[in-house]
């Protein structure tokens, strides 16, 4: 974590003067290739400088009004170029081929790829530097740190619950270490029954779900009705206690300030605490 902090600072020390020298000005026409980046740009207050977004960029509502350039995998170069961007920002899902293509066409491309909550918080500062709003970036980061502190203080000590989070049913997929979901569950005082899978998005065995008997089941696909009907799952503690919940996945998979909303929701669902 400390090392990462240093690395990001070093990166900034290099990026910012380079960017400033190359551009000579603050980026005015920004294209985002990732929903999380779009959200964060608006959160930083530079939403009016965002000229292009992906077809998945649903939040905030104003983002949906910007020109659509496809998505991280199917990037429509023509539309992107016609927007005359001076900065393109994406995350780790951005395809290397596209990055190469864009740079070959003389467009500045930056990728921000946080994988933990702390990295997300620090990336706000990075993003702020990239778009010429360092103050806003640092302020947002500080705000998030504070909120995180407050939320984790509300987690009752010593009352852990076994949690299963379902990303998909056929095949059964859950979230493991390396994913935001797993981290949030742990921060919220839950015990992810898939903690030993070692992968962020593993396929999981239904038998293991039954064997490990989660006390809370979180569904991210708006499939509660279908899930409640599964015959084998009726015996789970979660089902008996009526602790099967549907959540908005966008709060849990995107590296944005809304992760803290997700954390709050989890704390509330797991411990019954009103937040």
């Amino acid at each position: 974590m400390k090392l990462r902090h240093i690395l990001i600072t070093v990166l900034l020390a290099v990026l910012v003067p380079v960017a400033a020298a190359a551009e000579g000005a603050v980026p005015q026409r920004i294209v985002s290739v990732t929903p999380s980046v779009t959200e964060n740009l608006f959160a930083l207050g530079v939403g009016d400088r965002v000229v292009g977004v992906t077809s998945w960029c649903t939040y905030p509502p104003e983002a949906a009004e910007r020109a659509v350039i496809g998505d991280a995998f199917n990037l429509n170069l023509e539309v992107l170029l016609s927007l005359n961007p001076d900065l393109v920002i994406g995350d780790g899902t951005m395809v290397a081929a596209h990055i190469q293509q864009l740079e070959a066409l003389g467009i500045t491309v930056a990728t921000i790829n946080p994988t933990t909550l702390n990295e997300v918080i620090e990336s706000m500062a990075t993003l702020g530097e990239l778009v010429g709003e360092p103050e806003a970036g640092r302020a947002l980061a500080a705000q998030m740190r504070n909120r995180l502190r407050e939320l984790t203080a509300r987690v009752p000590v010593g009352s852990s619950k076994r949690v299963f989070v379902e990303l998909w049913y056929e095949p059964l997929m859950t979230a493991g270490p390396g994913s935001f979901l797993h981290e949030l569950i742990t921060l919220a005082g839950g015990e992810n029954i898939a903690a030993d899978t070692g992968q962020p998005w593993p396929q999981f065995s239904e038998e293991l779900v039954l064997a490990r008997d989660p006390e809370i089941v979180i569904l991210t696909n708006y499939n509660r009705e279908e899930a409640l009907q599964r015959p084998a799952w009726q015996g789970l503690s979660a089902y008996k206690a009526g602790a099967v919940f549907e959540v908005n996945p966008d709060l849990y998979v995107r590296g944005t300030p809304r992760l803290l909303d997700g954390l709050a929701e989890l704390i509330s669902l797991i411990h019954g605490v009103e937040l």
Binding site: I69, E78, L81, S82, N84, V95, Q100, A104, L105, Q203
Partner: protein, 339 residues
């Protein structure tokens, strides 16, 4: 088909191809006036200077750096896959053979998937080396199929096809297995497997075009011998054709062209299977005409398919492999009803 009518059809085909290239360059997600497109292209021809540049720099970038290379690449790959299809259908004496039948696609997929999922993340070779990995995989698979398909040191068409199916199934399974292990890079692999020209520019064109064009030119040279070969292996031998050597050469050239195509575009299906059929119905089975005209027709076909792929749901781009596959079904139904 007498010579004059045949040559005329060839001229028609070539003209249609040139027009298609120009039309495709003028059409896209961003609408740019065809007049400007024409001027932009002309201004790049050495010696011609165009007065009154009424287009923006972004538009020039779009046409010359994004659309034009993609259009040319589509033409070259469409032509290459079709020519490879002609070669394989001829040498295996099987009208259902496609350029991927002896392991090219599964081998290339394995090479590309290995690169995307393991080598490149581990720092072995940059992203630019992806076509090399794919090509190496294709060549390796073909070699394996060839060895398996030999019986008593001679190539047997049936054995070869069976070996191709076996190796293909195995390699595909390995790729699926790898994708389960490395599920986070799934999308990149899928994108590659589906066959797409999205994001391909001059770099990919310069990588693949020389080989595809060279291979396709070589394919034409096989034409007279392939005509004789169609009569049967024993007959061909008795007419002075070294059958074993011809088989090795044709398979090698065909696999080479197909591998070069797949290496930059992924697996685009149906082009190599359908175009030779259609052209054969139009100009006959003599391979001289068949190889050349299949190249032109294939170029036109893939050009049209890719243009559709990038405009019909704009700004979303369909993988071109889906468009070609959609045309496959009706085409074969048509063939069935005709024959």
């Amino acid at each position: 088909m007498n010579t004059n009518r045949g040559v005329l059809r060839g001229v028609v085909l070539l003209s249609v191809l040139l027009v298609s290239v120009l039309v495709a360059a003028a059409v896209g997600s961003v609408s740019i006036s065809p007049l400007n497109v024409g001027k932009m292209l002309l201004s790049r021809v050495p010696g011609i200077s165009v007065a009154d540049k009424s287009w923006t720099e972004a538009e020039e970038l779009i046409i010359l750096r994004v659309r034009l290379p993609r259009v040319l690449l589509a033409a070259v790959i469409g032509g290459g896959l079709s020519t490879a299809g002609v070669l394989f259908q001829g040498i295996l004496r099987n009208p259902l053979a496609d350029p991927y039948i002896i392991g090219v696609s599964s081998g290339a997929s394995l090479g590309a998937a290995s690169a995307l999922l393991f080598f490149i993340p581990a720092g072995i070779g940059g992203y630019g080396a992806l076509p090399l990995f794919a090509f190496a995989g294709a060549v390796g698979a073909v070699f394996l199929v060839y060895r398996l398909g030999l019986a008593h040191g001679r190539i047997q068409a049936t054995n070869l096809i069976l070996a191709g199916v076996a190796v293909g199934a195995f390699f595909t399974a390995v790729v699926s297995f790898m994708m389960v292990l490395r599920i986070q890079n799934l999308q990149e692999v899928y994108m590659w497997l589906m066959g797409s020209l999205s994001g391909r520019g001059w770099r990919q064109f310069n990588t693949a075009a020389p080989y595809v064009l060279a291979g396709s030119a070589a394919a034409v040279l096989f034409a007279p011998k392939l005509d004789v070969y169609l009569l049967g292996e024993d007959t061909a031998h008795s007419l002075g054709v070294d059958v074993q050597r011809l088989q090795k050469q044709v398979l090698a050239v065909g696999a080479f062209i197909a591998a070069a195509c797949v290496a930059v575009s992924g697996v685009i299906g149906f082009v190599g299977l359908m175009v030779p059929h259609a052209v054969r119905m139009w100009v006959g089975a003599k391979h001289g005409r068949l190889t050349v005209y299949s190249f032109f027709a294939g170029a036109i076909f893939l050009l049209a398919a890719d243009t559709l792929a990038r405009t019909v749901l704009s700004p979303i781009e369909l993988p071109v492999g889906i468009v070609t596959a959609l045309t496959g079904g009706p085409f074969f139904i048509y063939l069935m009803r005709r024959g």
